[in-house]
Symmetry: C2
Subunit: 407 residues, 2 copies
């Protein structure tokens, strides 16, 4: 193997794929990245894989001799990141050797690798029809929901985000059992072969893509809605990967046999999926509400952050008194021996007065995930779910279960 | 007690004094800050004190009723920092009550404090003559030396920085037994009463301040050189405090009975000192050298950072071959099984070839603390101390003990 490539491209690619390298690998080779140099295509590919999550990317290189080897991800990344971007990097490895020499302008480094054969194959099942999504739509969906997934591994399916495609509307949902975040993104699907953001404004009737779908793959979406639950950890890396670059190119998502594979530009991410039937979260959302409170988002967020200082001293509980006549929410927290706090926020209230309590962290998470100036808080009783919706983006629904407090 | 003050001033003052509040206080009141409101001066003072380090500052306030109380530093700071800077803050506390009410535009908070009588007195011994220093000179001296002090509490005196004033030259020195950093700052002393940076260019003869010293206090410096060793932890806070503001006002430093007290603007820092006779570090510095190597600082730093990736894998050792004829330094590190690295850096070498080894961390620390483009490395043998000096700032001396390696 012998190749010459750019320091900056190699360094950023190593950083990217290293996100999928286990910090405590169960096998030595899993601490490595796989480097494959192909003289035919004039490129090298880099792969990190922790058996759950895999990330692969490729960059152009002048490859004199094809070959493949694995190298310690951290060491390789740290050396490359410290090299000057002014001069190219040469990597070479004799046949059947595990010793790789890295040469730059001022110095040379020897690294001991491990054979590429020892590196597990990425699960690149790409049978079936891929769905094609706008990358920026998926990023938006992930940012709006990832935070609501559970961090408790015992909660299995709830440690993921549920992705569904109806027609060309993408729905992202996550819940940890205490709160639920759902974002619907219209026109998230992209036509196969589109090389720039081509949104399909005729597909909003739930009938799938319009009749102009350019091939059979996308047409297949008409038949059965696509749905998959992917671990939040993998999706956080996908969000990072998709956010790191600006490209209007749509991504392709394959899902088969417990794996998803996402292709985007010259990058690829694989992840296991979470098996099982995701809870029917729609049934959690009340059909009607007796009260609706419209409030400025930022003042509410700031007031909650202040009383949270006291709520956090004890049990994270804030009590909200909905005072219809005064046109305000009174927010209170009791920090026990330490102290207490109260804040008032102006609100437009329709419906009767109400006293309701929440885990302040859940409220804060939801308000931070929203955009826009105003939000509506819809509720019925102190024991039934409350739904928060931004006024300007009605396709985002954030449901929070209240906390029951002894008065 | 009742007062009104600005949110931003109160918040930044709380942040400042909280640096001296113990994270694991040995007594509950030490988790608090002392708040003293004085209607006479129209100001409030805030104090944090962990029995070693104390920080006090004051800000203007409209004080209706004088009084004092202690409040939990973290809770108080977190609430105040989250309040809007648009509206003032009212603090009130009934006589003999420990309940403080904080009121702002939108809300109110009750905090339980503890009586001011329980708070230990700051050791504000200010007897004797203070020395007066330019704040920016002291900051420069601390930045150049703090890193070389020992982090090992068992090393007692070496956990501090030694400050000496000869005439109006301030000398800062720190060593952990393996390396030594010394910076001499001329004209660091300020005349008492100077309200702006008045440097004294006549005092460089070591005879102390010039004849225009405005009072007896500074004149006293002629008699005995001032010297004190202060814990690095306290000096890091002093450096932070002095760097946070731009003021040409000189600081006053009192030292008496195992304590130093620094006054600067409306801020005050006290610290215990380290007792004992600081090592006579001057005798460690060789009087003459057989080799002198002049090298560009940044390329040397970059090369060392790269080989450090490998050196860190094993024992942090880098070997430097001084190759006089080739006019370069060859820097090598062996990471054992992991790999190895070598870098070459151009150098102007006078003297014979030499092989010498170092802990790369010590070299990196020194090179990072230096400024300027070039440095001189002076040495004699592989077992004797090496001295690094920036070419443009000959008053900084960084001495490193080499490591003996089996060849």
């Amino acid at each position: 193997m012998k190749l010459v490539c750019s320091q900056s491209e190699l360094s950023s690619s190593l950083q990217l794929v290293s996100r999928a390298v286990a910090s405590r690998p169960t096998h030595p080779v899993l601490a490595n990245v796989l480097l494959t140099a192909d003289a035919g295509t004039g490129s090298i590919s880099l792969t990190g894989f922790d058996l759950n999550l895999g990330i692969q990317t490729s960059i152009p290189a002048t490859v004199t001799t094809s070959g493949e080897i694995t190298l310690p991800a951290r060491l390789f990344g740290e050396i490359v990141s410290r090299l000057s971007s002014d001069s190219p990097i040469t990597l070479s490895c004799a046949p059947d050797s595990e010793q790789v020499e890295l040469t730059s302008q001022s110095g040379s480094f020897q690294m001991r690798g491990m054979p590429a054969e020892d590196f597990p194959d990425l699960p690149l099942e790409q049978s079936g029809n891929p769905i094609r999504l706008q990358a920026d739509a998926l990023v938006k969906g992930l940012r709006a929901t990832l935070f609501a997934s559970s961090g408790d591994e015992a909660k299995q399916l709830l440690t993921g985000v549920h992705l569904q495609l109806h027609g060309n509307t993408l729905e992202c949902a996550a819940t940890d059992g205490h709160r639920l975040a759902v974002l619907q993104l219209e026109n998230a699907a992209a036509s196969k072969g589109a090389d720039q953001a081509s949104t399909d404004r005729q597909g909003m009737d739930g009938q799938g893509l319009d009749g102009q779908a350019v091939d059979q793959e996308t047409a297949a979406q008409d038949e059965e809605p696509f749905a998959v639950t992917v671990p939040a950890r993998s999706l956080r890396e996908l969000e990072r990967l998709l956010s790191a670059r600006h490209s209007s190119e749509p991504l392709s998502l394959f899902s088969d046999r417990g794996q998803v594979v996402v292709h985007w530009a010259d990058q690829l991410l694989t992840s296991r999926t979470l098996d099982g039937i995701y809870p029917n979260y729609r049934q959690l959302i009340p059909a009607s509400f007796t009260r609706r409170i419209v409030v400025e988002r930022r003042p509410l967020l700031a007031a909650l952050e202040r009383v949270a200082v006291l709520a956090d001293q004890q049990n994270n509980v804030v009590k909200i008194s909905v005072e219809a006549e005064l046109g305000k929410l009174l927010i209170q927290a009791d920090g026990g021996d330490v102290g207490s706090g109260s804040e008032a926020v102006a609100a437009e209230i329709s419906g009767d007065d109400l006293q309701i309590a929440f885990n302040v962290r859940y409220l804060l998470d939801g308000l931070k995930a929203m955009t826009g100036d105003q939000l509506a808080m819809s509720c019925n009783a102190p024991t039934t779910p409350v739904v928060l919706t931004p006024i300007d983006e009605s396709r985002f629904t954030y449901l929070v279960m209240p906390v029951q407090v002894r008065q």
